[in-house]
Subunit: 429 residues, 2 copies
């Protein structure tokens, strides 16, 4: 018989404690959040000190500037996350909500009540602010969580987690409510805990998320790829198009919602492409296009089967399509069902595009970069889902809940209904 590994023991205890966590009143959960905020502010020097170690290590090991920006946790980032906690406290309680209430028959009343999912495993990139956001989302939604952050911020994460966890316990949360995994081997152990972990949320590279999805029986919520498209229709306003394409490609190239492929309607290709090429060159975007694109503008040649490439860089695939129908077909074939946009002044064409494109976000005349929980007004997000099950798009508090049916009777049995002695009357309450 296999010996129980540490993560198995921890999640087993966490599962048992999760019922207590789920039973905490919203007052207690909000008090925990308020106390966590106060504790983070009170202990900020200790946190910044820990972050200094991570930053020094990163510098010593030649980690890129762009990555180091994400590792840094300073007064501004602390303010951002504590502001986020304030917002979460203000948000309505996602749990204990009555979603359905009806009387099936005299004295037999059915309620669908929202409740926490239970135990969630979240594996995220090296960003200390993510640790605070994720743990506060879990606490507001009454969920227990195993957290595993990127190793580049190990010191900062340890400092932040200790403060958050100790404060939560002292404020009424059960002891097993949270655990921070620190070793990479614990990820593989966690993947095996399908008896006690209800949901995994991996964030990070496509390759990493795919690895998680392929190595666990636990349901996984997340997005593997972010291959987003912007399609410029023959009825597009080209000035608008240029502005949107540049934002969607360059505003933050490493984001999953950055546009990777530009589709241009054949009807306007000869005028639109040279204009786009000129403007994109000025912001240092390298263009890669099919042979027929190359006939119109200077660009690198690419093959059809390369259109599933996520560059996460200042590189853009370009293709000419025969109108909205071919654009839709291309997107549904090569895209990752994340976020795709049409640029057109024709409302009817836009509706057709938005109906037929099978993505979590379908946009008209705006940048794909808007796909984000904060920009949607959901408060923070735990991630963006390209799955079609459970939650789709940016996932906030609501995606961390499920529901249970409560049925109140007074001795009712099924046989009375099966034999026709009684009838259901199904009244909404």
């Amino acid at each position: 018989m296999k010996t129980e590994h540490t993560m198995e023991k921890i999640t087993k205890q966490m599962k048992a404690d999760s019922y207590q966590m789920a039973a905490l009143s919203v007052e207690v959960r909000n008090t925990i959040l308020a106390n966590v905020k106060a504790a983070l502010l009170k202990n900020q020097d200790m946190i910044f000190e820990a972050n200094k170690k991570d930053m020094e290590y990163a510098q010593k090991n030649g980690i890129a500037d762009s990555v180091r920006k994400r590792l840094k946790f300073d007064a501004q980032k602390l303010k951002d996350v504590t502001d986020g906690i304030d917002q979460l406290i203000q948000l309505p309680d996602p749990i204990g909500q009555t979603l359905i209430q009806k009387e099936l028959d005299e004295g037999l009343r059915l309620y669908r009540i929202s409740c926490p999912i239970g135990v969630i495993g979240i594996i995220f990139e090296a960003r200390p602010d993510a640790l605070v956001q994720i743990s506060s989302l879990c606490m507001k939604s009454g969920n227990c969580a195993v957290l595993k952050g990127g190793k580049e911020t190990a010191n900062t994460n340890k400092a932040l987690f200790d403060i958050i966890y100790q404060t939560a316990i002292a404020s009424g949360a059960p002891e097993g409510c949270m655990f921070q995994a620190e070793g990479h081997s614990e990820i593989d152990e966690l993947l095996e805990c399908n008896k006690n972990v209800d949901l995994l949320i991996p964030r990070g590279s496509n390759q990493f998320v795919q690895y998680i999805m392929n190595h666990t029986k636990i349901p996984v919520m997340g997005h593997a790829d972010g291959i987003c498209h912007t399609y410029v229709d023959k009825d597009a306003d080209l000035e608008k198009a240029v502005k949107i394409i540049i934002d969607a490609k360059t505003q933050y190239t490493a984001a999953c919602n950055a546009t990777e492929t530009l589709l241009v309607d054949r009807a306007i290709a000869k005028t639109a492409l040279p204009k786009f090429a000129k403007e994109l060159e000025q912001v240092h975007v390298k263009l890669r296009g099919t042979e027929e694109v190359k006939d119109i503008i200077a660009c690198e040649t690419m093959q059809e089967n390369e259109f599933n490439t996520e560059y996460l860089d200042l590189v853009l695939s370009v293709k000419i399509v025969d109108g909205v129908e071919e654009a839709v077909k291309h997107i549904n074939t090569y895209g990752s069902h994340h976020t795709d946009c049409i640029i057109t002044e024709n409302k009817e064409t836009a509706e057709r595009f938005m109906q037929l494109v099978d993505s979590a976000g379908v946009y008209m005349n705006c940048s794909t970069r808007f796909a984000d929980g904060f920009r949607y007004g959901f408060g923070a997000e735990v991630g963006i889902s390209t799955s079609k099950i459970h939650a789709r798009g940016p996932v906030g508090l609501e995606g961390l809940t499920t529901y249970k049916y409560k049925l109140y009777g007074n001795g009712q049995i099924v046989d009375d209904y099966a034999q026709g002695r009684k009838q259901f009357h199904f009244k909404n309450l």
Copy 2:
């Protein structure tokens, strides 16, 4: 390179057609359903003839009476399923519903719209009525489906499917909207189609559902076990308790929502157990209990580790527990998170039980057999989910939908908000 197998080709085409299926108006979908109903009635002789063949084969092969009852498709069952189609036509459209609508900023409007999941694979037991219910649920919800029914009803299924499919096509559904798999090997092929199949719904034995869950990357909705409990609290009305326990155990023993374990509060065990034993004996229920149960009533001895047994028969596990807290702990440990009931006149104890038991259904004073889509007033059901992700409990039309976010803009870019030149105002519309 692996050659593409048949199921892969079929689901690839189905995926492509699923966007057309999703775009059908509710009028067209309801017309399809009405035409299917008419066609089933018109071709009833042909269906009954096919069913006769299945019944003869079943008799020849000595299939049990109880199973043959499910295989039989007669005028009454035809009426039940066509009534079901009428009900589905009357139900509100589950797709195209606006779930959220808000303005993020001047002229930037976000909508969350319900839509079909896409391509669903449903593997179900040998029950011809299930084929009609499942395919009509999929059509009403705009989903494409691969159906695989039990082989014992192959002739009836073929007749039913041909009528339904041909009518659907003739009434406006895309050609790839449905496929009936007939060979068992096609199930394994289907499990590999994770690129094109969005959701699998297996129905059948625990072992079979576990097999599906362990052999695919496609999300699976279903219940593996149905280990339901009835707990009799010290404040129970024992007459009520007897009536409920007998219904929950005997009304239909093969159902997943039948009670498998009876938990009795220690405070009343000495008076309640003999009473229960006497009444259960009269309806031929065999009791199995722990040593301390055996000290009070005559029964077979069972060990603690046997409490995760799903009998699906006239057998009941019995245990004495120290009040509601131990009952909850037992249920959360040995149960299958399906449906569990407390019998008590104490509202407070009931609330504690219903809060802490982590199951899709938590009941007070009524039979666990009520856990069913029809009895909840959801119309038909595709199955009951014990997963905590996506849908929980009986799953009807709503569980076959997801949503997409539509964002309408007029040239908005993220950089304006990131740089503080513009602010979101988040107004509900």
